[in-house]
């Protein structure tokens, strides 16, 4: 083969190789267009947190756990507040249920709940009331007492009126000015009135931090701390049948 023929063969090879190599950079055919370009998003419920805390009528657990207590005594009628501890047990003050001939309990929506028994604590202004029917909702008890400055929410029936929620903060602790409860009691600036006795005092997480039992002239409210409530609940011998006005 002559040099010229070899050169011509090489040129031919290059001419054939260049288009073949160019095929790699040629634009390809477009892919098919999808019929729907909307991405699939997994639906996330926006009210999942705490949705079980709502009743079908939309009331939250804070209100549903509150109960109104009517103490029908021998010659007088008084009212107080309370809150569910379990499905058929509620907590209130000793002075709310004492000296009664009959106790009547109603819930946030006006339903009447029959009372089967009531017992009072000896060493604190606390009482337990057993009910025949289930109560709407029961909160959890806080593990420890709140600290000074912690927020507090009180839910109850001041002056025997409408169910009311008031807010405040823990001011501190002191000895019981009424000498009805041993140990320290909590002082808050949440507004309460007669009839609020037995109301649940809730912390920021919705857990019970105390039980309202008194107020002073300056408008401060006093709570039996949850630690005392837990101690009382842990000692069944600390409760005795509530005294009745009939003796």
């Amino acid at each position: 083969m002559t040099l010229r023929a070899r050169w011509a063969g090489g040129a031919l090879g290059v001419l054939l190789a260049v288009p073949l190599a160019a095929c790699g950079v040629l634009p390809s055919m477009p892919p098919p267009v999808p019929t729907d370009a909307v991405p699939t998003v997994r639906a996330t419920p926006t009210i999942s947190a705490g949705s079980d805390q709502l009743s079908p009528d939309g009331f939250d657990a804070v209100r549903r756990m509150a109960v109104r207590i009517r103490n029908v005594g021998c010659g007088e009628v008084s009212t107080g507040s309370g809150f569910a501890l379990t499905a058929t047990t509620l907590v209130t003050n000793r002075h709310v249920v004492a000296d009664s001939s009959r106790l009547q309990v109603s819930t946030y929506d006006g339903h009447d709940v029959d009372v089967t028994a009531a017992s009072t604590a000896e060493l604190a202004d606390l009482a337990l009331v057993r009910t025949k029917e289930n109560l709407p909702s029961a909160p959890q008890l806080a593990a420890t007492d709140p600290r000074q400055g912690d927020p507090v929410t009180v839910v109850g029936y001041p002056l025997g009126g409408e169910l009311t929620v008031t807010n405040g903060h823990v001011i501190g602790s002191t000895t019981d000015p009424l000498n009805s409860t041993l140990g320290q009691v909590l002082v808050t600036d949440a507004r309460v009135e007669p009839g609020s006795s037995g109301s649940a005092a809730l912390g920021a997480d919705g857990k019970v931090i105390g039980v309202v039992y008194a107020k002073n002239a300056e408008g401060y409210s006093f709570l039996v701390p949850v630690s005392t409530l837990r101690a009382m609940l842990g000692d069944e011998t600390g409760f005795e049948p509530a005294p009745t006005c009939a003796g």
Binding site: T2, P27, P30, P31, V33, V38, F59, R70, S106
Partner: protein
């Protein structure tokens, strides 16, 4: 044309003809390739144009759906706000009704206590009246017996007097009970 190379005569070759053939083939190949490439590029171009139009149509469709969804969302939000307001109103009404029921219960309990009190007073007053009447009747009878004491046995008179004192004692006890009830 003969060529002289280094003084020797060589046989004339046909390089030009071969090159012409090769070039012709190459040119044919290049032309064919260019034609095929042109056809391919036109075909691809048409396909991409159609592709673009389909995407544009899809985007318009999705945009219309999005606009509709936004409109529906806004309507739903408005409706939800209305329902929320209604729920709040209903809850407030439930709370009010529960309070009204509780107040009525308080009044009923108080009125029941008042009725019980009045019933106890009435019963006690009736017992006082009955006992007092018995006492008075007994005393009148005793006075009559005493006025004609000669006709009766002294022992019987003494027994009857004791009975009358018991009647009047019962009247005093009933009155004491009534006074106690009145003080409650």
């Amino acid at each position: 044309m003969p060529a002289w190379v280094h003084g020797a005569t060589v046989v004339p070759e046909r390089p030009h003809r071969t090159a012409l053939v090769v070039l012709s083939v190459v040119l044919a190949v290049v032309v064919a390739a260019a034609g095929g490439l042109t056809w391919y590029l036109l075909h691809v171009n048409a396909a991409w144009q159609e592709h673009s139009q389909q995407w544009q149509a899809l985007a318009q469709r999705e945009g219309a759906d999005l606009a509709q969804a936004r409109s529906d969302l806004e309507a739903t939000r408005t409706e939800l706000q209305g329902v929320t307001d209604q729920l709040t109103t209903a809850q407030n009404r439930i709370t009010q009704l529960a309070d009204e029921k509780a107040q009525l219960g308080d009044q009923t309990a108080a009125q029941q206590q008042l009725a019980d009190y009045q019933a106890r007073i009435s019963t006690a007053a009736g017992q006082v009246a009955t006992a007092l009447a018995t006492c008075i009747d007994g005393q009148e009878q005793l006075i009559g017996y005493i006025e004609n004491s000669a006709q009766y046995d002294a022992q019987s008179l003494a027994t009857y007097r004791q009975d009358v004192e018991n009647y009047c004692g019962n009247a005093r006890d009933a009155n004491a009970s009534l006074q106690a009830e009145l003080k409650k």
